[in-house]
Amino acid sequence: MSEYILQMKEIVKEFPGVKALKGVKLDVRPGRVHALMGENGAGKSTLMKCLIGIYHKTSGTIIYDDREIDFETTQEALNNGISMIHQELSPVLERSVSENVWLGRQPMLNFLMVDHKKMRQMTLDLFSQLDVDIDPDELMKNLTVSQMQMVEIAKAVSYNSKIVIMDEPTSSLTEREVGHLFRIIRELRDKGVAIIYISHKMDEIFEICDDVTVFRDGAWVGQEEVKNITMDKLITMMVGRELDEMFPKTECEIGDVILKVEDLCAGKLVKHVSFELHRGEILGFAGLVGAGRSETMEAIFGLRTVTNGKIYKNGKELNIKSPVDAISNGIGFLTEDRRAKGIVPIRSICDNTILSSLKTYGTPLNHRKIRQDTQEYCGKINVKTPSIDELIQNLSGGNQQKVLVARALLNDPEILIVDEPTRGIDVGAKAEIHSLLSELAGQGKAVIMISSEMPEIMGMADRMIVMHEGDVTGELKREEFDQELIMKYATGV
């Protein structure tokens, strides 16, 4: 028997016009947590999809459990002991938690009827084994995103898999839940399960992983044991260049108050929020998932009904009923949910870039100017694409995000609200977006940045507001920034 549970060799995957994987390899040992790292578009998810049968490799060999395999469907992969927790969850919202867990393999009473009682008990057993506290009868749609994530993890565990693949499993979990997830991972590992862990978060890699394999641009860069490698080395492997500064914060002059929010209320998660924003300032909003930060910004941008409170810009009261009003008042917004609320996947980069500024191109639309502007803005922020006519769905996450940034900038907003601007995008694109935000502040624009990544928000913000369950619980100046203090405010202690 080989020491590896999984060996992927010389895997090539070609899409029409693109070679997504150029002969990569991956060796996974049982009872180890194996991190798979690389910038967005490096080919990590593609390789995993080739493994579990969503894609089919163009060439190469996969040896799993001492035999060569090439799964046709994910079902086949599951039956053979490989399960994957996807980055984007797709639960059946209108059905119960237990039905979601046992979907397609419900315990049967007889050949026709599902054994609901047994199914409920099995769910309870599974949850208690993993220390998850969710009612199996609750409808999926009533769960929070992080609860759904836990259900998904429990489901993957329930297959008794030999390999569990986790694609950015912590992106919507709170710090406590991450700790919980790591306990589960350690338990699985001790049972001899191999875990392939895809993440961009360095601290997680160093905390939980044993081995790490790095890809860059569809090619294999290297494999190391985590204990033998430093963070700098890892970043260098990923980007192929030394990143001397992650957060190129430039000090710039803070000007007058441009936006003043007074006593804003909107739904359960925005309770009497007040703050001021100055020109040339990057104002950070910190807090845990569900703190009401996004909801506050959506209320300001006209995406939620404001039940109370006033918003002033340059001392003048604004009446914002919809994003149309917000944009015409010089407010730009970058959503946290790129796929659902950001891109129009089946349209070109060009159409996606100009979507917010169609007014400026007259009737009939001036297509030449549209193309010029797209070239200019997408070029300025370095969107990597063969052509601006490419469908945006064919770009990597980081590049999609850059297109959305271009869209916001094209309106020349005085106030730019960015919600988790670097979630799920690679280190290189991250640095580019950071330096862009600094540059905007330098031009006297005001930036509001929501981020759940502590180093990011501490590195970028001039001032920070911390929220907890819809309340503002703290405000800190740059010199007062302190992880523990922020966490105290964020947890509402």
């Binding site: 919809s322 917004f333 996947p345 349209r347 169609l358 009939p364």
Partner: protein, 324 residues
């Protein structure tokens, strides 16, 4: 050879159209006569005008099932407003209205119905299928009540010219109007903000909203445009047949949806091409015509039509599946 293959792949619909055209010409010597082709074009023009409207609804992830009934209602309205003054049983004995005004009033009724559809879908969030199904029943019944379900005959020659006349003695006015509607629709689709907005709404309505597009208003406009197209179809049908009739336009909306779909308008929203609609209309028209010419039983015609529609969607879905 590769070039040819690539051309076929990118222009499947036109290759299919040409294929049917050649097949039709071989199967029946009467197909390639000008009289026959003219009649096909004239018959399909009305469906085509409906299809250009419905294409917008489908593009924005909706549909318009009320178009056929709208044809009936508008044919009755236009007919009642343009009956010959010499006809003794006129609906409005003292009315003497310029034809252009009568047409505008009819189109306005179409716009009102469309606005109602749009309101239900955009603001009251009724699924388009249900909202327009309701309007379908309402419009048909309104036409029957308006005319007591009797035909409205004896229309002025000025109106009939729209449906029967020729420009330069060769081009049917009807076909010309279809062509104009295609141009208008194509222009809106590709060269106006409205077009880009609707593409975005069909592709991802939430993203469109966040990008500052007034989703509801644009949806409303889509339904208004579709119903105005249907009303225009009704005007032309009355003009062509010389009567208004509350029984007109049965299942026209389905033919129009079929034509738009065969022409590559994606049922999942966000994809549409005006040239596709032309090809879709012509393909279904030629198939109908050829079966008529070689004397195939009318029931079989619908079987073939149904098969073509399903086949078109299968192709569309496969194309999408391959992309993903």
């Amino acid at each position: 050879m590769d070039k040819f293959k690539k051309f076929c792949k990118n222009n499947t619909i036109w290759v299919v159209l040409i294929g049917f055209f050649i097949l039709a010409a071989i199967l029946s010597p009467n197909f390639l006569t000008w009289t026959n082709i003219k009649s096909v074009l004239m018959t399909e023009s009305i469906i085509g005008i409906l299809a250009t409207g419905i294409m917008w609804c489908i593009l924005s992830k909706g549909t318009d099932l009320s178009a056929g009934s709208m044809v009936a209602l508008s044919s009755c309205i236009i007919a009642s407003l343009t009956q010959l003054e010499s006809y003794s049983m006129r609906m409005y004995p003292n009315l003497n209205m310029p034809i252009i005004l009568a047409v505008l009033i009819t189109l306005l009724v179409g716009a009102v119905v469309g606005a109602f559809n749009g309101c239900c879908v955009a603001y009251l969030k009724v699924p388009a299928f249900i909202a327009t199904l309701g309007t379908q029943l309402i419009c048909r019944a309104a036409a029957q009540i308006y005319t007591n379900a009797y035909p409205v005959p004896e229309l002025k020659p000025g109106l009939k010219f729209l449906g029967q006349g020729m420009v330069f003695g060769v081009i049917p006015v009807l076909v010309l109007i279809f062509a104009i509607m295609l141009c208008i629709s194509g222009f809106m689709l590709n060269f106006t903000r409205f077009g880009k907005n609707v593409f975005a709404i069909g592709g991802n309505d939430q993203a469109a909203r966040v990008a500052g597009i007034n989703v509801e208003f644009n949806q409303m406009c889509v339904f208004i445009f579709s119903s105005v197209c249907a009303a225009l179809g009704g005007v032309l049908l009355a003009a062509r047949s010389g009567v208004g009739n509350s029984a007109f336009g049965q299942s026209y909306e389905l033919d129009a949806i079929a034509a738009a779909t065969v022409g590559g308008t994606s049922q999942t929203g966000g994809v549409a091409k005006i040239t596709g609609v032309i090809a879709g209309v012509l393909i279904l028209g030629i198939v109908k015509n050829i079966m008529l010419l070689i004397g195939i039983n009318a029931y079989w015609q619908n079987i073939v039509k149904g098969a073509i529609i399903i086949f078109a969607v299968v192709i569309d879905m496969r194309k999408n599946a391959r992309k993903n």
